[in-house]
Amino acid sequence: MRRQLPFVLVFLSGFFMIFQYFVPHQKSEFVYEFLLDWLTIIGGFAMALGIWSLIRVSYDRIKRQRENWGYSVITLTGLFLMMFFGITNWEDGSFGVYIYTAEGLSNSMFVHFFDFILIPIQATMFSLLAFFIASAAYRAFRARSVIASLLLLAALIVMMRFNPIFGAWIETVANWLMNVPNLAAQRAIVIGLGLGMVATALKIILGIERGYMGQG
């Protein structure tokens, strides 16, 4: 039963999803939308589960004073502070807790934490990429073979496209690169991926692939 029940559920759900896509009907759409509600509920629970998992892992690290446990203190402090500020507001002189409405999101502390901590942190992390990309490009883009030379040339042309100073000719060449070879390769990848997904889905629906049940 432990094996058959999940298989039957997966088979019925998968078959129904295929059926409703190709045979749209009021009744099948009703069931489809009902299942989509479940998706949203599961999404909400997944977020709660993620938060719970973060708290457990961080708490455990602090309790056992593992390496870099101080970062876990900062993680939990940030988490609880943002949660607290996100559901409270005292802008009009009176303190209030808002669980179901969005007043908490305009709490000045919530906004300031987002504007002056999260935004600069994430922007800084992303900005650092420029330095690493420059260093990696210097070391990796070498004309070691014909294929590597082609890659190098294409990369240079596409990069030059972003620079207005190189003129219209480079844009024409770069647009051709993007619209012809890039498009062909990307479409091939997308179609290949799509077919692979269909094949995998069919294997799961038909019970050939049972990895999701912890079996090979």
Partner: protein
């Protein structure tokens, strides 16, 4: 300092150039020449030197702004033309599907498209598939709406439904029933009481969707779950690194693509050309083209130097 011709940056520094610009450019050029010399000697450049050059190349145009004349490429102009050609009062949905890390690239195009849609008197619906996107959306609305569009009324000319959890599941629902996923707007006002949502039930009632982002869920999900299913035109504004992945969907499934700062700068230039009132407003896309251009030139130079060092190094090894 404005470069309006496709000539070499270093030779065309116009009369408006500041001393700082010249000094900065001279430092970069002399430094690169010195590195070229070391590369010919087959000496590899230390990565800290690469970092230093990138830092200088990005800093100079920030301290002494350099801007370029931009012209919208067809892939960007199609988005502008679509918004321009829609009759007044059309419903356009702008989805802020990005986080602060992506914001420097994507925010300028979101600003420009928002200004354009509102200036054209379209009804604009804002939303986000990313939790961090709502904060950025709120900031954008607070920054632009009261100052530039004081006559526009929340709920009548525009509305924000904010963020809701569910990723592509959200799209799967709103494509057939928008109010099921968003019963109220970001201010907790029921959508049924807002005029902007009159005779609006699902994404099928939209005239255009413009999504800004680069991650997942984002542009691709909008195309797959909404654009195709609801037969709504979808335009995308994405980080430069994601733009090539969107080309397979262009031009049938994706109306147009704004890729990175360049795409934003092109849209801004087109907007200013048609709506001169926005010439006084910030154009971060065009401003950021300066640092990006110089940084790209430095990276291109380093790629060339790397190959010079590699070539001369190999020749030296081959010599008996």
């Amino acid at each position: 300092m404005m470069f309006d011709s496709p000539m070499l940056l270093l030779l065309t520094a116009g009369s408006g150039a500041t001393v700082g610009t010249y000094i900065g450019l001279a430092i970069i050029v002399l430094g690169l020449l010195a590195l070229l010399y070391t590369s010919i000697k087959a000496i590899e450049v230390d990565r800290r030197i690469v970092f230093l050059f990138i830092f200088v190349a990005v800093s100079i145009p920030i301290l002494f702004p350099i801007t370029f004349e931009e012209k919208a490429t067809p892939v960007v102009k199609r988005i502008f033309d679509k918004i321009e050609s829609l009759p007044e009062g059309s419903r356009i949905l702008l989805s802020f599907d990005f986080d602060p890390a992506m914001a420097p690239e994507v925010q300028p195009m979101a600003d420009a498209v928002m200004r354009h849609a509102l200036a054209k008197n379209h009804r604009v619906i804002f939303m986000s598939l990313w939790a961090t996107g709502q904060g950025l959306l709120d900031r954008t609305m607070q920054r632009i709406l009261p100052n530039e569009f004081p006559d526009k009324v929340d709920g009548v000319d525009f509305a924000s439904v904010g963020y809701t959890a569910g990723n592509e599941g959200v799209l799967n629902v709103i494509v057939s029933d928008f109010k099921k996923m968003f019963p109220s707007d970001a201010n907790s006002i029921p959508l049924d009481s807002l005029p902007v949502f009159n005779r609006f039930s699902s994404c099928k009632d939209l005239d255009l969707v413009v999504t800004f982002g680069g991650g997942k869920p984002g542009a691709k999900e909008w195309v797959l779950f909404v654009g195709d299913k609801a037969n709504v035109p979808v335009a995308v504004g994405v980080a430069a690194v994601v733009a090539p992945q969107m080309y397979p969907y262009f031009p049938n499934q994706v109306l147009g693509i704004m890729g990175g700062i360049k795409g934003a700068a092109e849209y801004e230039s087109e907007l200013i050309k048609h709506y001169p009132q926005f010439a006084e407003q910030p154009t971060p896309g065009m401003v950021m083209m300066g640092p990006q251009t110089l940084a790209h030139i430095v990276i291109i130079a380093f790629i060339v130097f790397g190959n010079v060092a590699y070539f001369f190094g190999r020749r030296r090894e081959e010599k008996p």
